[in-house]
Symmetry: C5
Subunit: 309 residues, 5 copies
Amino acid sequence: MRISQKVKKILAAYESDNPGTKANLARILMEGKLGGTGRMVILPVDQGFEHGPARSFGPNPAAYDPHYHYQLAVDAGLNAYAAPLGALEAGADAFAGAIPTILKMNSANSLHPEKDNPTQAVTASVDDALRLGCAAIGYTIYPGSGQFYDMLESLRDLIAEAKSVGLPTVVWSYPRGGFVSKDGETAIDVDAYAAHMACLAGAHVVKVKLPTDHLEQPEAKKVYQSEKVAIGTMAERVAHIVQSCFNGRRLVVFSGGGKKGDEGIMDDARAIRDGGGNGSIIGRNSFQRSREDALKLLGAIVEVYKDKA
Amino acid sequence: MRISQKVKKILAAYESDNPGTKANLARILMEGKLGGTGRMVILPVDQGFEHGPARSFGPNPAAYDPHYHYQLAVDAGLNAYAAPLGALEAGADAFAGAIPTILKMNSANSLHPEKDNPTQAVTASVDDALRLGCAAIGYTIYPGSGQFYDMLESLRDLIAEAKSVGLPTVVWSYPRGGFVSKDGETAIDVDAYAAHMACLAGAHVVKVKLPTDHLEQPEAKKVYQSEKVAIGTMAERVAHIVQSCFNGRRLVVFSGGGKKGDEGIMDDARAIRDGGGNGSIIGRNSFQRSREDALKLLGAIVEVYKDKA
Amino acid sequence: MRISQKVKKILAAYESDNPGTKANLARILMEGKLGGTGRMVILPVDQGFEHGPARSFGPNPAAYDPHYHYQLAVDAGLNAYAAPLGALEAGADAFAGAIPTILKMNSANSLHPEKDNPTQAVTASVDDALRLGCAAIGYTIYPGSGQFYDMLESLRDLIAEAKSVGLPTVVWSYPRGGFVSKDGETAIDVDAYAAHMACLAGAHVVKVKLPTDHLEQPEAKKVYQSEKVAIGTMAERVAHIVQSCFNGRRLVVFSGGGKKGDEGIMDDARAIRDGGGNGSIIGRNSFQRSREDALKLLGAIVEVYKDKA
Amino acid sequence: MRISQKVKKILAAYESDNPGTKANLARILMEGKLGGTGRMVILPVDQGFEHGPARSFGPNPAAYDPHYHYQLAVDAGLNAYAAPLGALEAGADAFAGAIPTILKMNSANSLHPEKDNPTQAVTASVDDALRLGCAAIGYTIYPGSGQFYDMLESLRDLIAEAKSVGLPTVVWSYPRGGFVSKDGETAIDVDAYAAHMACLAGAHVVKVKLPTDHLEQPEAKKVYQSEKVAIGTMAERVAHIVQSCFNGRRLVVFSGGGKKGDEGIMDDARAIRDGGGNGSIIGRNSFQRSREDALKLLGAIVEVYKDKA
Amino acid sequence: MRISQKVKKILAAYESDNPGTKANLARILMEGKLGGTGRMVILPVDQGFEHGPARSFGPNPAAYDPHYHYQLAVDAGLNAYAAPLGALEAGADAFAGAIPTILKMNSANSLHPEKDNPTQAVTASVDDALRLGCAAIGYTIYPGSGQFYDMLESLRDLIAEAKSVGLPTVVWSYPRGGFVSKDGETAIDVDAYAAHMACLAGAHVVKVKLPTDHLEQPEAKKVYQSEKVAIGTMAERVAHIVQSCFNGRRLVVFSGGGKKGDEGIMDDARAIRDGGGNGSIIGRNSFQRSREDALKLLGAIVEVYKDKA
């Protein structure tokens, strides 16, 4: 495979990584319809863990079958498919080599509500990622939770182990818990902070939610105002997140959260693209509709990114 | 041993497992009167730990002897016998090779009541399972307990270790604890969720209680109603559980709970069978009656499953 | 040494143990005046840890010297001597080979009162037992304590490690803590439950207190009454404990608790013998009297067991 | 490189260290404009972790780029550059060999406020320091926090591991938490105590804040007064800190805390110099101004130290 | 070196120890002016950790220098010098072989007050002791603290590791915490108990405070009174402590606590000597006075012990 100039430049910013880790990053970046553009669309399916099977797959029962998601990601020409251990295991052989997979290492669930100190259970290992032929591991942290330091330390151990065997790490950095308000979870200052800490911890790819223009921390608010940091449009906020990820030296992708209308999803993608973000992670908005509708939507999103690739 | 086509198909769904693990699954699935049908009846005897010796064996004192249970499982033509360490050790030599055994790795006890954060003590290891010639390990998790994440992480470690030495894992997934109501413990939404999480964690066989048509979680209730998920009959509920286990790619067996009348037990078995479940785990309803009665009941249950094998 | 038929039969019940572990059990069972009878009298000296030196040895100051206890056990023709690490170390060389020793692995102390969640500190290792030439390790668990699961898990690790190097484990199973009442600590249902759990955890020898006819757990009480379990006499209660120890497949010895009159001690021994128990552990009632008196009493107890050996 | 007599003398006080560890200390002490003088100016950039990206780099957006700081430290002729893992990784290759780096091992963040028991998350390892070619590791402890003992024990493990592979340790010893008042955090008695404990724990270089003349602990206050310990001027207080660091046998550098006027910073440097301190760590006061201003200020500070080198 | 008969007899009581551990005990017992007498005077300097530098060294500033203490111990002809890691490291090379050193493994500090559950931080390892050429390790336990079991378990691990590499362990056994009253900390019953538990845990040398005639525990009080245990004079109390240390089979040394008049210190030494104790540990009373005065006092104490050696 000939690696594109765009991707080569991205890889060059990972100065401390071994060739194996860079090669796996390249596998993801060169895959599918956006291969080589430096943009990515990833299919994540961890809602079964997070919300239970019926809430996740009831609207589109074909999605109860783990093979469904593999096939959807392949047919939509996405860059990667991310899921918890059992779900990947159930199709690892049938889809071996068909699409880069990201093993989601930890998960929460709605039977375990925890307002102040939320955390997640680690349900997989780096060895699992290797034996399943994954291209990366994924891990969620909750800045703002009383358990954040423990999550961060576990993350560091996993990143170190993963990169020693050539696997990059995608970090879902989701502010949550007793130290942030509900609005603060997507506030631009907190979101940028969450992205920045993931980078400092050694993440290769950061995944955050699209931020609002709310400013949560008083001390931060002062600086945003005095320095006139541009956060008025979504594209500006995306650009600020990118800046907070080592000035663009780390890949950052965005999720839009809950189910929403198609136009909203397309607007999000355009803002990510225009702000210099590296792409979208789209879960419920893809597998909770019919396969046909999903392929249509994912195709349209891909086109948005291609537009200015 | 010639593996049946039915069993071969079941094994094929375990795409990521090594031949040793599949071979042990096959040992269980090919054993006894239901051998080769894809259905199973398993004898579990962990009530001594859970409720104490007199409550468990007082009604049928012959059952104080660990050999009694081995022999019962063999004579009834069951697929496997599951028990805690000491009980298996006490007959491991006398019954070596006579019936596949499942080492129950953790246990609770009634001297340790804990409403909100119940857990169990791990009292055996994978090495124990190997030296005792077991065909699988068994482990209980309590979704809905404040200790659930810890239990889940221990489970993952055990599954990984077990499968590395060719042993599959049976997961008892029993919702319990401060995050679920008493009714919620067997609610169809919660039960399906519990089964699904066991699969995501890498279980080879899931054991849940037969569900009621209660719906515990408001968010889930909405989906069951809007999507008109069929949960009116027990067979429909079993079918929903099977669907929640990777659309049937994972084996799932059911327990009926406390002692009940023979007709109730037979009805349960028929519902499991008709809903596509893989069988029954029957403890107290077998060893708390006379050996003669137990053999009669177990024989009848086996016939139910054979009926449509 | 020619192993007696009685002892051979006892050893045969330990189906899963390696020859080294059985050989050490045999060393204890073949030692002293009761050697070969399947009965045992053991001298335990952990009161220095539990109650302090003056309360333990003040009444008989010669007992401050660790050599005293070794010599007493040898001269009384007992089966074994059990003590914490330091006490065994202080005579390990002088009495090498003179009597089987049991290294008591954990201990509590009266400067550490804890009503609801009592536990003990582990103060020795299996390696210590090996280098001191011990014949077994000893470990206390507290069913009914909020710390019980942790104690049980530590026990399991120690049993596994010990048996891998040929050492059997004696488990002191003492109900205690916030989940049992004071009367419940020696209630027959709780005592039998405590003994049964030790067996399930893999104990080779169980040590419990002699039970009263109190019934602590309502659910258990129902069964004892409906099934008319005989618990009226001490011998009947001992027989029920023996039954709860895998129907006699595991050795069980009894302690009588605090200092009491000689006749009471002899009555206890007769009840243990008649109920089929395997012997007595006698601490304070032996070393807190003069050596002469102790030898007399221990001699008399031995005769009780010999009587129907 | 010819090591200066001054540095040789400093190294000689590290009596227990292996040549590798001394060599890395020498790398730092011989680097830059103060090379060989026994004085140091270090650039630390962990504010992104501590306060978030906008508060740290908003005033000087060029500083969002990790390369910026490497270059600033090189161009200013400093002794070393200290930062968390991700930030070092992002320039490790481009600046390999250009300046000694100190891997900051742990970090707190403002999304995790904790008054009484503050701690930090460990986000790097000694192996990371080696693979990134660092000259030292850095670690923060909080004397006065309920978590202090845990931090101290982690520190000890890291120091031991680091020195075994030839890496010295810089300890940020910052009194904080429920056991000290706000004024106490920089009180001379507490500051000297914090520095002393870092030395006792095996630190090679201690970093403390410049102390005030406040006396926090009543028992200490008595001694300072009765023994007439000179703490009236900043230089005297620095001299007392140096004395508390094994009478000068350990290197100690100072930070001035928040952003302040240039003259205040210069006064601090003169006091450190005159009190015998080994230098300054200057973060926000360097990278939150323009590069030109920063180089000017850092140049002036270097001159202060050169003045009496 | 020819080992004296007295020391040979002491060593013989350590029946389970390897020659390396005995050799290091001998190094201490044969050192200095009391070499060969079976008595010891040890210089401990951990007050810097416990109380901070000014409270420790302010009265005699020469003592800020770690070399000062080494030299004092050598010049006073003491048996050993005990200190935390950093302090030993700072003179380990200059004083290599000059005097046996004891590495104090754990320490508390006055910035970490904790009434009910006091503990200490472990700040060194057995490997540190080896690389620094120490003759023993030292460790503090707090019987009566809610953390006592944890401290005891850590102690056991360290003792086991240390003796496996030929290092004996000195245990500072200091009753403290929520389970003892202030008077109880030095009560004879509690002190004897504390000494006894250290022996049971495998200590080679026990260090306790000189006891008062207070009796703390009601159950113990009864026995002291009924058995008429002699505790009226300090020498009698020392004798009771010696008895509680395996009837003299373990070495026991005493500290007098805070700074006191010279005559009080001499009286203490005479009582220790007459009660059969093995010597004194003298910290603040030696290094908080001038070197000249310290040498005089230490010389006088040594003479006391020589008197009846």
